[in-house]
Amino acid sequence: MSDITVNAAGARPKKKSEFVRIMKELSRNKLAVIGVVLIILEALIAIFAPLIAPYDPLEMNLAETFMKPCAKHLFGTDDVGRDLLSRIIYGARYSLSTGVLAMIFGVVCGLLVGSIAGYAGGQVDNIIMRILDVIQALPGMLLLIVLASMLGGGFLNTVIAMGVGAIAGNARLIRAQIMKEKSAEYIEACDSINCSKFRIVMKHLLPNTISPIIVSASMSIGNYVVLGSSMSFIGLGVQPPTPEWGALLSDARSYIASYPHLVMFPGMAIAITVLAFNLLGDGLRDAMDPKLKH
């Protein structure tokens, strides 16, 4: 008896999961590792902001307005004497989480819409795809602006607006994957044992189709960080005095000629964050598609 078990186990060498392979490949990519380290660092800064920030980000000090970077205020102070470094540290909370949450929201809704369209097929698919056609006929930023003004400003509404804007693209991607996988034999087998449609999609189709979505989504986080700060910049996103990076830039805009440091630092914070996510995304793509690698 024990012989059989050993044999059975031995005959089936454990297949290395695709995920493990990609992670291994990723850890060999120096740039991607730098990206991951930067992201972790920023996440820690965002989480421990109250411990790290030297001042309260909202505390005004009219005696110390427009200070240039100095020992007391490393990044200087703004028009009402708030410490810029503290504001940027706290801003990491908003900027990072808008990006990540918008991505998650867009992926979850996209999965829902895309899997319905892909699995149902026929008229349902047709109607959903035509609606997506209409949504995608609008330039993305324009859709986002109208959505944001429809929902109103604020952190959560910005996340929802960006997530909704991303649904169409994600849904298309997942639909194509599901249509490809739908005709596989194991799905036919599920059908034959009277598996419910919901179960087929959730338990069998999605786990087998989700990896390209995950990659494309993680590559898009950097994009969402920029979009989120653009929305605050034009006054439709997170509202002042919340120290979101885009809002900081928007505040500093009028003082650009005389106090350029107010514009320089928040922008650099955005650029570094986006760079980190892009490095990770690029590494992931290379790991998924070894053909492109050096």
């Binding site: 006929a137 930023m141 910049f233 490095l279």
Partner: protein, 326 residues
């Protein structure tokens, strides 16, 4: 081919109608009462009610939607702005070209730089040129365009005083007003152009016919420019269409920074003022421009790829149908 183009143009009609309904509905859901915004918060209840009747806002949603659709598509009347009372068509006539100039300028710039970058990266795969090009592309795509815009203004307009910081100018000399806006918006497009060029060039360079060309003794320059690039261009052209769409969207933000009175400032301002007719008309027009460009991309795509072209000229009706669906 002609049949396919016609089909695509006809298909644009329901899409644009759909966009109209979508935007109209979204503006209706928008919180904020246009009458209050126009008359101010101190206006009396009677005057607000009178204003709502004047704007037609007292009618139910469906009645207004049908009226708007028939105004626009049967009488070609886009109406006029609720705030400034200026006819929308006359505004669009002046503003749309500005946004288009900016977007085209930006697209030309990003692809004009991105494609050579990508080629030189692919040609020297793994060497320093490759790393340099990819690092430039990576940094370029990480900078938010509105921040880059402010930095460029700071350097070239405030410090060096070479270029105007904002506004627009008349005639050919007016083009210099577009230089800073175009440069602030081109980085993302350039990065994706460079990457796409690199990867599709790498794909092509490895194929047998390139080895054959080299074995025949064709000079390397013409192997790259004539043999490889032609085939590598196909995905790049597709990218150009999407990139243009992104530029059109990105232009909205850049326009507000540089105070260019284009579509972006028009629509963003109108969204803030709940000036429904302007938002709707502006969005419809941008969607039409966008769709036309997508169509142009598909046509160019067919032109440069003889395989697709053959499908249209010699192919049966069924094949064309298949392609149109895809």
């Amino acid at each position: 081919m002609g049949r396919y183009i016609l089909k695509r143009i006809l298909w644009m009609i329901p899409i644009i109608l759909g966009v109209t309904v979508l935007v109209f509905t979204m503006m209706t859901i928008c919180p904020g009462d246009p009458a209050t915004i126009i008359l101010g918060s101190l206006a009396t209840e009677e005057s607000l009610a009178a204003k709502r009747v004047e704007l037609g806002l007292d009618q139910p949603y469906l009645t207004r939607l049908v009226k708007y659709l028939s105004d626009v598509y049967l009488h070609f009347n886009l109406g006029s702005s609720w705030i400034s009372k200026i006819s929308i068509v006359s505004e669009l006539k002046v503003r749309l070209p500005r946004t288009l100039v900016l977007s085209l300028f930006t697209t030309a710039l990003s692809f004009g730089l991105g494609i050579p970058f990508g080629i030189s990266a692919a040609k020297n795969q793994g060497k320093w040129q490759d790393s340099l090009c990819m690092v430039i592309a990576m940094i370029g795509s990480s900078m938010p365009n509105f921040w880059l815009a402010m930095m460029l203004v700071l350097l070239f307009a405030v410090k060096l005083k070479w270029l105007p910081a904002l506004g627009i100018g008349a005639g050919l000399a007016g083009l210099k007003y577009y230089i800073l806006p175009a440069f602030s918006n081109f980085a993302t497009g350039m990065a994706s152009a460079a990457r796409q060029t690199r990867s599709s060039m790498l794909d092509v360079i490895r194929s047998d016919y390139i080895t054959t060309a080299r074995a025949k003794g064709v000079p390397e320059k013409s192997v790259i420019n004539k043999h490889a690039l032609k085939n590598a261009l196909i995905p790049i052209v597709t990218l150009m269409g999407t990139a243009f769409g992104n530029m059109l969207g990105g232009a909205l933000i850049i326009e507000t920074i540089f105070s260019i009175p284009g579509m972006g400032t028009y629509v963003i301002g109108a969204v803030g003022n709940r000036d429904y007719p302007v938002v709707q008309a502006g969005t419809i027009f941008l969607a039409i421009v966008f769709s036309i460009f997508m169509l142009l991309v598909d046509i160019v795509y067919a032109m440069i790829d003889p395989r697709i072209k053959a499908l249209y000229t010699a192919g049966s009706k069924k094949k064309v149908k298949k392609e149109a669906k895809a």
